[in-house]
């Protein structure tokens, strides 16, 4: 049927317009009318696909997170060493983030700031938990394989890595030109991995 595809196209178009505008003007400053115009649909049509402005916002976030989810994890291959896996996961995440239109990051930042206050129904802690789980598993595996010291605190370090990823992402946004994201991350991972590797 054409219908489904047509619907999907229109839904995507609206999401794209929302991304474009939310990222530039922020959620609260963006008008539904603008989104409609930018998407080339009537304002009422948006409400055929999304219940409300907030629903549109969270749908957009889910949409973006999905891409992130799919991309970064597939970079980690089973035959890699634990160190390689860590590198792959972190750089995969940052790569994605660099390739992703900067717009997406902006929207996510706002989503953080809204989400933290529990103003939104969607709970994105789950996303983090998944990352945490995977990182923990890699670290544990590295310890078991005697690649990392057994004194490594898996829980704490995985949180630190995650924290670094978010932080450096934020800094990249703030200092766009001045920062070489890749080099910084490489340097950082080398340092950390040196710190936890067995001699």
């Amino acid at each position: 049927m054409f219908d489904t595809k047509n619907n999907k196209n229109k839904r995507i178009k609206i999401l794209e317009a929302a991304l474009y505008l939310f990222s530039r003007k922020g959620y609260h400053r963006t008008r539904m009318r603008e989104i409609a115009e930018h998407a080339g649909v009537g304002k009422g049509t948006i409400y055929e696909y999304f219940e409300s402005k907030e629903d549109l916002f969270t749908s957009l976030i889910v949409h973006l997170f999905k891409a992130l989810d799919e991309y970064a994890f597939q970079k980690v291959k089973p035959n890699m060493s634990a160190s390689m896996k860590i590198k792959a996961l972190v750089t995969g995440y940052l790569e994605l983030v660099e390739n992703m239109p900067r717009e997406a990051i902006m929207v996510m930042t706002e989503f953080w700031s809204e989400g933290i206050r529990n103003h939104l129904k969607f709970d994105f802690r789950d996303m983090y938990k998944k990352y945490l789980r995977i990182t923990r598993k890699i670290l544990e595996e590295g310890i078991k394989k005697e690649e990392f010291k057994e004194t490594v605190n898996v829980e704490n370090l995985s949180r630190s890595l995650l924290a670094f990823m978010d932080g450096i992402l934020f800094h990249a946004m703030l200092f766009r030109e001045e920062i070489d994201l890749e080099r910084i991350t490489e340097d950082f991972l080398d340092t950390v991995l040196k710190g936890i590797s067995r001699r």
Copy 2:
């Protein structure tokens, strides 16, 4: 004169009310009427002290940043080793942040998200530059004193440390109960310092 003190009190009262409400409901959801009520003044009075809602918001941020500025840096004493200085700086920052009402962090997060989009006049990149400068200096000193390897990339690592600080702060907000900020930071710094120390 009594006038000045009275004025100051009222100004502070308004700022406190703004902190209370902005942190809970976010900038856009907070009404000037609410702030006035909470501060125990008339709505019009707010406009005697602040030009606009945005002016009130940025004034609040400046107010908060000042405390941060003064606290964290004084933790670094000249006679410490470079490693100790790094630890002092980072934990000082986090201590401050933990003692600071969580409200303040919330507001700052929103400020980030607004500031990134250049919606506000106040540019808080300067804050970061100061942190960067200090961290760089400590690292350079550590290298010169042969405490750290000379292969350490000062520029990159200082950015990484800063990134970690922001990231972990954000995570602490997200996962309040579940996280032991201090332990994680300690662990992390040990790992990194081990990674850059000469044998």
